[in-house]
Symmetry: C2
Subunit: 335 residues, 2 copies
């Protein structure tokens, strides 16, 4: 949809933005030796299909199985001694829960995670396994944001949201920094978009390390709020979008991420769930890596020709690999 494409303003440093590229660089120093430097994979067949050289940055191999560890650790490692002693609270049914729990364990601070009572046992067990206290709630009757705020207030805990926080955004951007550090400048960088933390963080890394690189976000068709927000310049929302990309079911970009996306991102495109399953099949079957639906958004946009790969050097972030294997098998059986 090039005719509707958004043209980002000049990328000169804008002090009114809530995060700066230098924050991503500082986060990389904090994460050094703690986050995995995840592998960058390539595939002849993928290159042929896309018509470009594609570098897949595989955050499914990150600690806790997703990029979320980067932002969580970057945020928690900047707590004051007092904040650290009292501890962190987070709410998440997904990868952010484990990312906060592991980061808190590594930093020796208590963690409280608010999770829906119907969360899969494997996620509850993994979060508990990192020593976090889990508070279960009934998603039918409770608004998790309110419950978390209440507990934070009572116990004097510091809340770290899953994307809308400057330190979280800066941490996520280190994935993009590592990719460009390893493979050199890119013509296009394609990143999945839920709340926009990974997307805007990686965009800032590219702004410094590969300034001519186009930045493209990818959402599921059903959850196209960020695409609409970018095109209209006004924050758009979506309610409970019906998509298998559970990491991109967020209702909207946030106060921190929206201005960053407006400033740094060239375009946001969307893909269908069927395209996601086709992309997952390729990644699993041909590249032998387990990728969750949200983690396949960028690859799907490239494989389906929705992103123009012109220029020839394309980065794609594979954001995570946490998925129920039996459920994935059913998707593969029927698509």
């Amino acid at each position: 949809m090039p005719d509707q494409s958004h043209t980002p303003p000049s990328r000169a440093t804008q002090p009114d933005l809530p995060v700066q590229p230098a924050d991503v660089m500082a986060a990389a120093a904090r994460l050094d030796g703690l986050a995995h430097r995840t592998p960058v994979l390539t595939s002849r067949t993928a290159n042929e299909r896309v018509g470009a050289k594609v570098f897949f940055k595989c955050e499914n191999f990150q600690r806790v199985g997703a990029f979320k560890f980067r932002g969580a650790y970057n945020a928690l490692s900047q707590f004051s001694p007092m904040e650290k002693e009292r501890g962190v609270i987070a709410y998440s049914s997904g990868n952010h829960a484990q990312a906060i729990a592991l980061s808190a364990q590594l930093l020796g601070m208590p963690a409280t995670i608010v999770m829906p009572k119907n969360a899969p046992d494997v996620k509850l067990d993994a979060t508990r396994g990192y020593g976090a206290e889990i508070v279960l709630y009934d998603p039918e009757t409770t608004v998790r944001e309110e419950l978390a705020a209440e507990i934070a207030d009572e116990r004097d805990l510091t809340l770290i949201p899953s994307f809308d926080h400057p330190h979280v955004v800066a941490g996520q951007g280190t994935a993009g920094k590592e990719l460009i550090d390893e493979v050199g400048e890119l013509d296009t960088l394609v990143v999945c978009c839920g709340g926009g933390g990974l997307l805007s963080g990686c965009a800032m890394a590219a702004d410094v390390l590969s300034p001519d690189c186009r930045i493209i976000g990818v959402e599921p068709d059903a959850g196209d709020d960020a695409a609409r927000s970018l095109r209209t310049g006004t924050l758009q929302t979506v309610t409970n979008p019906d998509t298998i990309a559970d990491g991109a079911r967020t209702p909207s970009l946030g106060e921190v991420t929206f201005p960053l996306v407006l400033h740094y991102v060239d375009d946001i495109v969307t893909v269908s769930d069927e395209a996601l399953i086709r992309a997952m099949r390729f990644l699993w079957e041909r590249m032998k890596i387990v990728v969750e639906p949200t983690g396949a958004l960028a690859a799907a946009a490239l494989f389906e020709g929705i992103v123009d790969p012109s220029g020839g050097r394309v980065g794609a972030i594979i954001s995570g690999g946490n998925v129920d294997l039996a459920r994935a098998g059913r998707w593969f059986a029927t698509t």
Copy 2:
């Protein structure tokens, strides 16, 4: 079963054996730049579970998705100009078919592959995709070895079997060589065993590069012919073993591999299909890699405590990742 364990004779070079460790080293030079140097992965959780530092050599990331490319290319690259002009023939329903087809394509020679008519389309298409001619047969009425010999004779083609050939064995051994080159000496090396090509090849590499390393083969319970052959010193067979480890359904070790296994291998153990699925689940879910059942044999023996990891540095070959995803999903749903 340590009381029944086989004690290999002295590892001094035995000129009467059909392959020598030096052949593995020569194969490595031939494969340099053509085979992928596949990654060696480690996992904190796997180490904790096994009680040792485990190095997984990931041949699921090899070209055609399995180690078989190594042996096939090593064999075909030693054809005489006349043999090369006439071409190669192979029979296989599995990874050897694609390995021969790709190797022939790279070397610019014709390839004929005899495959069962009920082989999955994805395998037929992949083999054809490398430019091979496929001859289909009905496994109910035709013995594939006889059909292949007949065509080889008619067309003057050179037959390359899937394991029982000195050049194939030497090529497979380069996987073990690369592993030890990368991580250093090992106390134990665990390798899956079908026809014994990968096992004996890797054992020869270890004999040179890590002489004190124990070499353990792993078979499925139902296809324990190699374990029995090693213990009795007499070639044992098995008929159509009922196991999901399709790469280890071979009826017996071969004329080339049996003496090598007797000479170089310390023990061969077996694992159940249930253990294989548990190991696959760990490899897929925690390590985010797609591994076929045969490829998980070595890991399963370690995870289940069937191999003693004493010494603390253990290598395990992950031999391949070609598996029907929907079928794997059903295994994961029911185990």
